[in-house]
């Protein structure tokens, strides 16, 4: 296992170009991704995918090559914007994820989009509709309904199919790290 990226705890990186009189502040954010065999909050029931090898690529450069942690987690620090997570088999890239860090409020949990966003954060599949191709499209389609039912089942809350207050509360709490 090689680890080429520093893992210091500094909250941000500031650099001052020689030809500039101003500070150029690059804020670095902690990013945590969990690879799991099934959706839901990590840390229980053997959901984690182990032994995945991956590399991080930013602006075309490989900044880390490593193996996921025992809990299936990849942690790294990234600026707002895009980082590529590439899964490796025999040092060959076989799958990749374009990880985009955004800083803004989540859509309200009482909206379909907000519910879809949280279900996706927890790993539930919604299909590939919507602008990001992740099923978050603001429409209560059959895949979203199926995901709600699966989530309610896994949480052991009443399987009512629609997003009631218990489901809203659970979704709100479960997505926060």
């Amino acid at each position: 296992m090689s680890e080429t990226e520093p893992t210091g705890q500094a909250p941000h990186i500031a650099r001052l170009p020689s030809n500039s009189g101003a500070h150029n502040l690059v804020v670095m954010h902690n990013v945590e991704l969990w690879f799991q065999k099934s959706p839901g909050v990590p840390g229980s029931e053997h959901r984690e995918i182990r032994d995945l090898r991956y590399q991080l690529r930013r602006e075309g450069n490989i900044v880390r090559s490593a193996r996921v942690a025992r809990d299936g987690k990849i942690s790294f620090r990234a600026p707002l914007g895009e980082t590529l997570v590439e899964l490796l088999v025999d040092n060959r890239v076989v799958a990749s994820y374009r990880v985009i860090v955004e800083e803004h409020a989540l859509e309200a949990v009482n909206t379909v989009t907000g519910q879809q966003r949280r279900l996706r954060m927890l790993g539930y599949h919604l299909g590939h509709s919507g602008p990001s191709g992740d099923g978050v499209d603001g429409s209560m389609g059959s895949r979203t309904e199926q995901a709600i039912l699966n989530y309610q089942t896994d949480k052991g809350i009443a399987i009512v199919g629609n997003v009631d207050s218990a489901t809203r509360n659970a979704l709100t709490n479960d997505v926060v790290t």
Partner: protein, 396 residues
């Protein structure tokens, strides 16, 4: 093409909230779309918890469950939900008697075969792996292996109340229009649906049953005498019940094929296409099926004989559900299940009100899932265990 993953942070004043992002690359599903097929069962993938049924709940496996009788070969599919379409995925089995093919990487369609060659230890599972047969496990499902239980069936081709006349004064047949060949085809469909339970309905006898019902119910006279009277009163089943006492073969499920049913209250024909009564009932158990009934209808009624109730015990699942609501529990889970409540809202082919016309089998195709899991909060779940308890070659 990379999968896009958005990671969110939310800043409120000085406080920053980070949100988790979980990636589940694959899931398992039916190998085919459309009507039930014998070798392409519907895995019970409701949630990833296993509920209280089966010894497998004691294992560390989480995910869907598929039933396969010993000696059978089925097809399943890996769906690449959150991983590149070209990612090399291999499927392996945790036990020798569960044989998986191909041993090479799956094709673009993700389909693979599972053949069960003998009894297995509890917790047999199929694993989808990345890159090689010993690669990281991306997903897993339980293979629930069981032996076959053969259930004897006696088929009655019924002629009811003699020749009747239709409204135009023309004679119409009082006998079912089904032939033995057609009924055999119907049971092929039924046995395809029941295969994941390891239950096989075997026709052991044919009877040409002719009778004249003594009970009257509704306006079953004149042109309607060849039909079983059905209406919405508390006694709607009374004529079917009388028929199920006629010419019975003991220690078998007696299935009576009739020309049709008539609801005198509403003046409608064949809105009820089948009636099934449980082996646990005080009266004679059995099935009555109208000519328009299909394999799904018959499989459903046979479920009642094996003491399976409608999902939710006969109640429509959601307390707020009405004929115009869109609660998913009714649309997705109830209607995907073989034992869903057909009434009062009509079939999945009914586009009005706005119900899901596709519950996982394709547009306007009814589901046929019989549940393996026993999930909390559903008194009619755990259908595998219930049906197997009552499916026996030594019926009363």
């Amino acid at each position: 093409m990379p999968i896009q993953v958005k990671v969110y942070r939310q800043r409120l004043g000085q406080e920053t909230t980070s949100f988790r992002q979980i990636i589940v690359p694959i899931r398992f599903g039916r190998a085919v779309n459309g009507a039930p097929v014998r070798d392409a069962p519907d895995p019970d993938d409701r949630g990833f918890a296993l509920g209280s049924e089966g010894i497998w709940r004691l294992t560390n496996v989480r995910g869907p469950v598929v039933g396969v009788p010993v000696g059978e070969t089925i097809r399943l599919k890996v769906l690449r939900e959150d991983i590149d379409a070209t990612a090399p995925i291999f499927v392996t089995s945790s036990q020798e008697r569960v044989v998986v093919t191909p041993i090479t990487a799956l094709g673009a369609d993700g389909i693979f075969q599972v053949r069960v060659t003998g009894p297995v230890l509890v917790g047999a599972k199929i694993e989808a792996r990345l890159g090689a047969t010993d690669g990281p496990i991306l997903g897993e499902m339980i293979v629930h292996v069981m032996g076959w239980t053969n259930v004897p069936v006696c088929c009655h081709l019924v002629k009811l109340n003699g020749t009747v006349m239709n409204d135009g004064g023309n004679p119409v047949p009082a006998k079912t229009g089904r032939t033995q060949s057609a009924v055999r085809t119907l049971f092929d469909n039924v046995n395809a649906i029941w295969l994941p339970m390891g239950i096989r309905f075997n026709i052991v006898e044919w009877k040409d049953t002719e009778c004249r019902l003594s009970t009257t119910h509704g306006n079953i006279t004149g042109a309607y005498q060849g039909l079983i009277g059905i209406d919405n009163s508390d006694q709607w089943w009374i004529q079917a019940n009388e028929l199920m006492h006629v010419n019975r073969r003991p220690h078998a499920i007696n299935v009576y094929f009739v020309r049709g049913t008539y609801d005198a209250d509403n003046g409608t024909f064949n809105t009820t296409r089948g009636i099934g009564t449980s082996v646990t009932a005080a009266t004679d158990y059995g099935v009555v099926v109208a000519d328009p009934g299909d394999g799904n209808d018959l499989a459903h009624e046979l479920g009642h004989v094996l003491n399976l109730d409608f999902h939710g015990g006969g109640n429509i699942g959601h307390a707020d559900d009405t004929s115009t609501s869109e609660h998913s529990r009714d649309n997705i889970w109830i209607r995907r299940r073989l034992m869903y409540s057909y009434n009062p809202y009509g079939s999945t082919g009914d586009g009005t009100p706005a119900r899901r016309v596709n519950v996982g089998y394709g547009n306007y195709v009814r589901g046929s899932l019989i549940t393996q899991k026993h999930l909390a909060g559903d008194p009619t779940d755990g259908e595998y265990a219930e049906a197997r308890t009552h499916a026996t070659s030594a019926l009363p």
